[in-house]
Subunit: 356 residues, 2 copies
């Protein structure tokens, strides 16, 4: 089934409101989720609703959070998300970073968020910055340890993604949105949903051995860091995952999942953290110069000789733009299994069903 973005957004909103979320928070959350759907990031849009329903049932989300600025300087801020879903505090964090009072006047700002939850796709927050003319960086920690460090047998970091978005002049923004694992858990779930085996080198079993079975990989999540084994530099992906953890968890004062039980026994909420950075190119270049130079890079990449004819060089942001063009016209494809799951979620909470 193909669903127009506006309809999907309204359906998500209706469910969030039925879950107890304030209307204005539900609107922002549904917008961030469908920002991902419309760009083809299928694992991080409406497909997240079953996960959210699950952690809601576990009592891990506060649907009426009092999101507060707990610390602030001219170019920094720390927000407390009060255990709500992460999309609203992360949006507020990036909007605060690019505000007239921060990066717009100083050229640079960083805002961290603590006591938060899943925030969807990392890149969509960078996009908020790029739309306003800034370079935007967005990162989050995750409450499920998944990435196994080099030489280790136990997962010690979530998939800890990095979003980096930069505005060009004639091209769409450069748009990088990546988990620091070889792949995100969402990709494993999609493979499971489609009944497909995993490619090798994506995941490990309980003993740190490679597995291609998505059920085995998801039963006890153990992902390789980007780079895979030591010889192919998996220590780098692991290092990036740790970097994201440091900027999201340690800098904000959130909870590091592997020591959670020892340090905070019985804690109900996940308390993960986010980190947002905005950088104004005009603090370094005259107006338009940065964007023109970025166009030059993107144009050179696009004009690059491909390894195989008919498969052009990948440019970060192009697949998302292609998806957006296609999906704006034909709607967002929602697999049957997901549609059934979302319909059940709506029924369970008494939300109206709008996707007939």
């Amino acid at each position: 089934m193909h669903v127009p973005r506006a309809d999907l957004q309204r359906q998500i909103e209706a469910i969030l409101v039925a879950w107890g979320m304030a209307v204005e928070h539900a609107a922002i959350t549904a917008e961030r989720l469908t920002d991902a759907d419309v760009r083809g990031i299928d694992s991080h849009g409406v497909a997240l609703l079953p996960l959210y329903a699950e952690i809601r049932a576990e009592g891990r989300i506060n649907f009426r959070p009092d999101i507060r600025v707990v610390r602030e300087s001219a170019v920094t801020a720390l927000l407390d998300a009060d255990h709500g879903l992460g999309h609203v505090p992360a949006t507020m964090a990036m909007e605060r970073a690019i505000a007239n009072s921060k990066a717009r006047s100083s050229g640079l700002a960083a805002v961290a968020v603590r006591n938060s939850n899943h925030y969807g796709a990392a890149g969509v927050y960078g996009l908020l910055a790029a739309r306003a003319g800034f370079i935007g960086v967005s990162m989050t920690s995750v409450w499920v340890p998944a990435i196994v460090p080099t030489f280790g047998a136990e997962p010690m970091f979530g998939t800890n993604p990095i979003g980096f978005v930069a505005p060009a002049a004639n091209n769409p923004p450069f748009y990088l949105d990546m988990a620091t694992s070889t792949v995100a858990v969402g990709k494993l779930k999609l493979a499971q949903l489609h009944g497909k085996p995993l490619p090798p080198a994506w995941a490990m079993d309980r003993d740190g051995r490679a597995t291609v079975d998505p059920d085995a990989a998801l039963a006890d999540v153990r992902l390789t860091p980007l780079g895979g084994a030591r010889e192919t530099s998996g220590h780098k992906g692991y290092g990036l995952a740790a970097m994201v953890e440091i900027l999201c968890t340690m800098l904000s004062g959130s909870v590091y999942a592997p020591t959670r039980e020892r340090r905070h026994p019985g804690l109900a909420h996940w308390n993960i953290g986010h980190f947002m950075l905005a950088l104004d190119p005009q603090a370094f270049r005259d107006a338009g110069e940065f964007e023109a130079d970025l166009d030059d890079m993107i144009d050179a990449l696009r004009a690059g000789r491909p390894a195989a004819s008919g498969q052009p060089v990948l440019v970060h942001g192009d697949p998302e733009c292609d998806a957006m063009r296609e999906r704006s016209e034909h709607g967002i494809p929602v697999p049957d299994a997901l549609l059934v799951a979302v319909r059940q979620i709506a029924a369970d909470c008494g939300a109206p069903w709008l996707l007939s």
Copy 2:
């Protein structure tokens, strides 16, 4: 031969001064290079002298640069390196970022450098920040396209490294220093120096096919991005390389190597750029909280169950500390071939030979 750090530093200084560099610039440059040697980063210390001799002979380095601040705000600055080697302007950039007037008072600062050259190891600049209590980020672009983008046949980015260093309380700093390629060119050169074949998935030939021959790989540098092929998420390493290029080249107004000949025909200097960011944990946490939480993470990693007994979990910063302990006591091992090359360089420029 094992050489005490101080002796190696003096030898490098003597060569740089003989090349025409001011004594105070030579001291800083030799210190940054031996910062790498003493930490076991063999590819980015004294082993760089033959490269520097080569680009000096090509007339690409100004050994009497007038390094200037060309743009500045309360939390940003842009330095022009005037085509000198990168170690001094990069040191000045990070020192400016952590100065009382910038990150120390505002919590955050970013300094970009343009018209620069090779700056050695990325991590050592992050270390300047961490020593002063800040989180330090250091990146540089490179004038040799090496990383082949996903689906491409031509290299479009240098090895574009990321240095990220964060201060702990009881542990040495978290120290990540990584090329965004699977491996750095220096690793290929070390393999060549030792006459060893390359592991597969590190490098490609002219047609984008994998090669294990270091001579073939270095004759026409084509490295895989971190992650390798598309299926193992090489598009992420490529995206990180592009991110570093954007922050170092486009943001500073330096030269993007693949379009250099078209846009700047006949240019003698390389004009690469660096990017430094410093972040004060105390802008977000009370004094000591960040460092204690980072200790908690590092301790958990170190205590993690290893995949194989006798091979503990890798912690970023530990190998560097182990090397520093060992090398402070026994000196820095310099392979014979390198010693011969450095001796020749000293003889060629009339520098005294101090490593008898």
